[in-house]
């Protein structure tokens, strides 16, 4: 079962775990990315493409499903404005054994950061607004999977 979503509402991790786990898989790995409140950040805004972003997530999910024997895969990304501590992205991957679930999770979050149309904009307490630059190393991590 592949579940992909782009949503403006909060990501309910516990509810998503329940949906994902309905099959009772042997091994489930997850990754949760949250807004960090570094440098007095007060808001993180995620911009996306109305059509291509969700298509990109679906393509990524299917690439993982082609590569590993997965029982279930969940890929949910929030967009719009969010506060420190809120969940930006949730990746869940399940398989009969751990190697596949762990590798798929890492692949999905690495590739998500370089291949799917999301852009982060930070607003700080002093009023400063800045678009986030890609981190050094993200491209390298993503290319490990080529």
């Amino acid at each position: 079962m592949i579940r992909v979503a782009v949503q403006t509402g909060a990501i309910d991790v516990a509810a998503e775990l329940d949906i994902h786990d309905a099959g009772g898989h042997g091994a489930s790995a997850s990754f949760i990315g949250r807004v960090r409140g570094d440098d007095d950040l007060i808001e993180l805004f995620l911009e996306h493409h109305r059509v291509l972003t969700e298509a990109g997530l679906a393509e990524l999910a299917h690439a993982a499903a082609d590569r590993w024997a997965l029982a279930a895969l969940t890929l949910i990304h929030r967009v719009g404005g969010m506060a420190p501590g809120e969940t930006i992205v949730l990746v869940l991957a399940s398989s009969a054994h751990r190697a596949e679930a762990l590798a798929a999770t890492e692949f999905l979050i690495d590739r998500l950061k370089t291949d799917v149309m999301f852009w982060k904009r930070e607003t700080f307490a002093d009023g400063r607004v800045a678009w986030v630059e890609p981190r050094d190393g993200d491209q390298g991590r993503a290319e490990r999977w080529d």
Partner: protein, 83 residues
């Protein structure tokens, strides 16, 4: 030929609009040609596309490099930063 161009993140902000329908000259054939033409077209284009190496594109819904031939729909944006 009518071309729909959409802009995202700081490219959108510098262009002042999210999308537009344009009609570039016939010799604007690739993504790189389009970026160069937009940079020359006006001041906001000069600002948005001052560094072509920092611009990414999608053509007809798929990620595309600078040499990709443009169809009737192109998205131009900075490197993505999701996750």
């Amino acid at each position: 030929m009518a071309l729909t161009v959409s802009y995202f993140a700081w490219v959108r902000e510098r262009m002042g609009i999210a999308d537009e329908v344009i009609d570039p000259p016939a010799d604007v054939a690739t993504v790189a040609d389009l970026v160069e033409w937009l940079a020359r077209r006006d001041e906001r284009g000069a600002l948005a596309f001052a560094e072509p190496g920092r611009i990414r594109a999608a053509v007809g819904g798929a990620m595309a490099g600078p040499d990709a031939v443009i169809g009737d729909e192109v998205a131009l944006f900075p490197p993505v930063t999701g996750g």
